[in-house]
Amino acid sequence: MTASPRQLSTNHLLGIKDLQATDIELIFETADNFKDVLNRPIKKVPSLRDITIANVFFENSTRTRLSFELAEKRLSADIINFAASSSSVSKGETLIDTVNNILAMKVDMIVMRHPYPGAGVFLSKHVNAQLVNAGDGAHEHPTQALLDAFSIRERLGDVAGKKVAIIGDILHSRVALSNILCLRKLGAEVMVCGPTTLIPRYIGSLGVKVEYDLLAALKWCDVANMLRIQLERQDIAYFPSLREYSMLYGLNKKILDSLDKEITIMHPGPINRGVEITSDVADSHHSIILDQVENGVAIRMAVLYLLAGKRG
């Protein structure tokens, strides 16, 4: 006999906003089992052997795309990859047309990254496939938030009650928004820290503390999640120079040593060494940056598996 079936409450993964805390717990429990699979000599299971997944990337990505691709392969799904830079998008095709053309080839699920916020939500209303948002502009990046929270749970035992500071370019970061929503749903306390110009004005309404002083944020937190300065999204100057930003908000060994406790350091990548974090910190035992990458595959396997289970 099998236990009573548990399912996700959503048909797509568009953002953490749509998930219940029980959904996140279910994803974590499933990911625990996939992590176990990934540590075996044969790292593959046949669950999704009759599913075809298209990875549609309208924006550059290394980690996320590879991580999704590996997760799909470990689940035995068939995969097609699509990068906008080498496609007919440059010939003027619309998003719905592009995706419907891909779906006409009998694709079941779409993993999409897009530079415009809400692209996934929009598409989910117009196409007949399950969607996984792999990042939409400065809006959400749900699988990153899930793997971040999963990594905190793995390192500290639990997420509830932990103090997490998200430090850096909050304004342009989809990782920040998804992380805030995810950590709050799991009962963590969240603080954002950065220059005033890079903190959105009404961010406090999400139930987070705001701090402009790096040292004060580090003294408060158990976990510091360092974000990259997203120069490619900054159309105006938000601070005088990278050097000045690094002096005020860069994490280095000296400031870590001045704390009277050990904190866990995270970074969603890609790292700009010497800007938001120095090499000695990024490579130290405080850092779980590579654990995050490892957990990313297990989390994405869990998300794809649970969503595929809803296809019926």
Binding site: V37, I42, P46, S47, G309
Partner: protein, 183 residues
Amino acid sequence: MKRSILLEGQKFQITIQRLCHQLIENHGDFSDSVIVGIQPRGIYLGRRIVEELQQIPGLPNIAYGELDITFFRDDFRRKDSGLLVPSSTNMDFIVEGKKVILMDDVLWTGRTIRAAMDALQAFGRPEKIELLVLVDRRFSRQLPIEPDYIGIQVDSIDSQRVIVSWNEVDSYDRIELLTERNN
């Protein structure tokens, strides 16, 4: 709902002990054999058998693992199955060149065992796989799979259910056959 008890109490224990002795006949001191309980309900049978075997002098160390087969099932996404949430796999050995004895509480269609053989491949190529079940629901197989060791055999129809309860989790050992009244 009509419940009829097929086996309980001392008879249940005698059946377990008989299965243990049949295993010893074929596997000797278990130096080349491993026992694998199938999640979620086969693990109680596996644990009980290992516990009984270890009471016997000369059989102190028996390799025992628990295998989850959820990701290997062939009814994933079939309408009647719902979503199958996994249990944990605990296998701290590889089965390369070993004789594996798979254990599950009830053998019915055979599909779980097919999935288990598939899942086992991730842990190496065993020399041989045998199957031990506590209850064999005869004449209801959908795959060509037969057990090597059988606790009891039951003739039942598809709408009936066989429930195995374990002292460890249900506070008594019992095998029951459940029949809907209107059948």
